[in-house]
């Protein structure tokens, strides 16, 4: 009987619509919506929403595995992480710690780190064994995380400790705690740049941490309540969403200073990412329940697209075309 119950339980979740992302011809933006408990699927070439998928409770964080055509979503309300496999059209939930916020895959994509806001830890989840294999103690209220594969380090923003923990992922131990400014929330980087960018919400600044020497090399003032960062590799620029100023700060990485601001983008801009194939910046606008598409060259508004409610999109959310 238990097997039957499990079968129907799983069937219930698998019956959800996963048919939308099946041709992989276009870049797709995957937007977590904390109020509707859904992941909205946006075709960036067609510039329209093509589907919405029920995930866990209050989804916030996201990471995309382009190679295997998967997305992972953190559900702080149901204390789990959802894996969506767009090739197999399947879903699988993994238990995490309490209130997972940010997630990041290991280099071989077989394990996943999740920051647990309420117990000051980062879980390492083995996706094959389907279990938490380690909980690493970090600072208070860990939020954004990033794994530097080259130097084997995991960076964790400890919002209530005003610090960033550096965890050696070969030892799974915190090896350094770097003081930053007030209320660090987001941590972002790319494999091809030397810095990790930290958004300090209450001090309205971005800390640049050098990946090798693990020191803060500069704090850059932006506008109110910076949330997320997207790095434009083609123009060596950073785009920073400022929630309370309804703006995006542009930082030139050559001189490491603010070179412009896009004002009045939308209300509470949060998640931000770049589609190079479509030459677009995609921004989740929490208060307006929409996402906006900006031209990557001119920063002009291209389109607003309505989403299902409370978009956060905290992480890398572009599933690139499979060509």
């Amino acid at each position: 009987m238990q097997k039957r119950i499990n079968f129907f339980f799983i069937f219930f979740f698998f019956c959800r619509n996963l048919a939308s992302v099946d041709n992989f011809e276009n870049d797709i933006a995957l937007i977590t919506n904390q109020e509707s408990h859904k992941l909205d699927v946006i075709d960036l070439k067609k510039k329209k929403k093509i589907d919405e998928i029920l995930v866990g409770k209050k989804p916030a964080g996201i990471i995309v595995d382009n190679l295997n055509r998967k997305a992972f979503i953190s559900n702080p309300g149901s204390h789990n992480v959802l894996e969506i496999d767009f090739l197999k059209k399947s879903k699988k939930f993994y238990e995490s710690g309490p209130s997972p916020i940010s997630i990041f895959l290991t280099k071989d994509k077989t394990q996943l780190f999740a920051s647990n806001w309420y117990d000051n830890t980062v879980s390492l989840i083995d996706l094959k064994k389907d279990k938490i294999i380690k909980k690493i103690v970090v600072g208070n209220s860990p939020a954004g995380i990033f794994v530097d594969y080259e130097n084997n380090n995991l960076f964790v923003a400890n919002r209530e400790s005003n610090s960033v923990s550096v965890v050696d992922i070969s030892k799974l131990k915190e090896v350094k705690r770097i003081p930053v400014e007030s209320a660090p929330f987001g941590v972002f980087s790319e494999p091809y740049i030397n810095f990790v960018f930290v958004t300090n919400v209450q001090s309205n600044s971005i800390s640049l941490i050098h990946k090798k020497n693990l020191n803060v090399i500069k704090n850059i003032k932006v506008e109110k309540w910076p949330y997320q960062v997207a790095y434009d590799k083609e123009n060596n620029k950073l785009y920073v969403t400022n929630q309370r100023s309804n703006s995006i700060s542009i930082i030139g990485m050559k001189k490491k200073k603010v070179i412009g601001t896009i004002d009045d983008v939308c209300e509470y801009p949060e998640g931000i990412d770049i589609s190079y194939n479509e030459n677009l910046i995609i921004v989740a606008c929490w208060f307006e329940d929409n996402i906006i598409l900006l031209d990557l060259d001119t920063n002009d508004l291209v389109k607003k697209i309505l989403v299902s409610g409370g978009p956060r999109a905290f992480g890398s959310f572009i599933l690139e075309n499979g060509k």
Binding site: M1, R4, I5, F8, F9, F12, Q34, E35, G56, K57, K58, P76, G77, S78, H79, P98, S99, W117, Y118, R244, E267, Y268, W286, F287, G310
Partner: protein, 176 residues
């Protein structure tokens, strides 16, 4: 039939459990609109006068420095409770004003990081539309909040405050 019943039971249980074990402060939003049968400039004049919040009938006194960005106002309520707000933005051209709460009283508004924005626009029929929005976190930021400071109750109190403010504004604007 038994399998069907079990399936339904577990589906319901799944949703119930998710609510019971839901943790973590999630930012809340409230947005309310109202049409007022009054001139847009007159409505805007009332709203943009940061020094005076007498259009919410529960506020008995407003003490403020000025109508300039950065100015703070203390709202005094009937039972002696106080809330302090700071003027963040004012756009005369677009008729948009926004402020934040710097100090609250949880009995009136159980919130954290509360920001409000009011925009005013002219409708085709000549009436004036007022949109009052607020974004905030609940009164208790930790895990397992007491009932009066949870998401639901915080949202309820903000909704009530905004509703009363809009109703009061309509009354004053339409009387003039």
């Amino acid at each position: 039939m038994r399998i069907f019943s079990f399936t339904v039971f577990f589906i319901i249980l799944n949703f119930l459990q998710s609510e019971v074990f839901a943790h973590g402060p999630t930012r809340q939003k409230v947005s309310q609109s109202m049409n007022v049968n009054a001139e847009i400039m007159m409505v805007w004049k009332i709203i943009s006068n940061f020094k005076e919040f007498n259009w919410n009938p529960e506020i008995i006194e407003t003490i403020a420095e000025s109508n300039n960005v950065g100015s703070e106002r203390v709202l005094k309520f009937k039972d002696g409770k106080k809330i302090t707000q700071k003027l963040e933005k004012i756009n005369e051209e677009k008729k948009i004003i926004s402020w934040r709460i710097t100090e609250t009283d949880n009995d009136i508004l159980p919130v954290n990081s509360y920001g409000a924005k009011i925009s005013v626009k002219l409708e085709e029929d000549g009436t004036t539309n007022i949109n009052y929005k607020a974004g905030f976190y609940r009164g208790f930021m930790g895990n397992d909040p007491p009932e009066e400071l949870n998401d639901e109750n915080s949202k309820k109190k903000v909704s009530k405050f905004i509703k009363k403010s809009l109703e009061g504004l309509k009354k004053i604007a339409e009387k003039n």
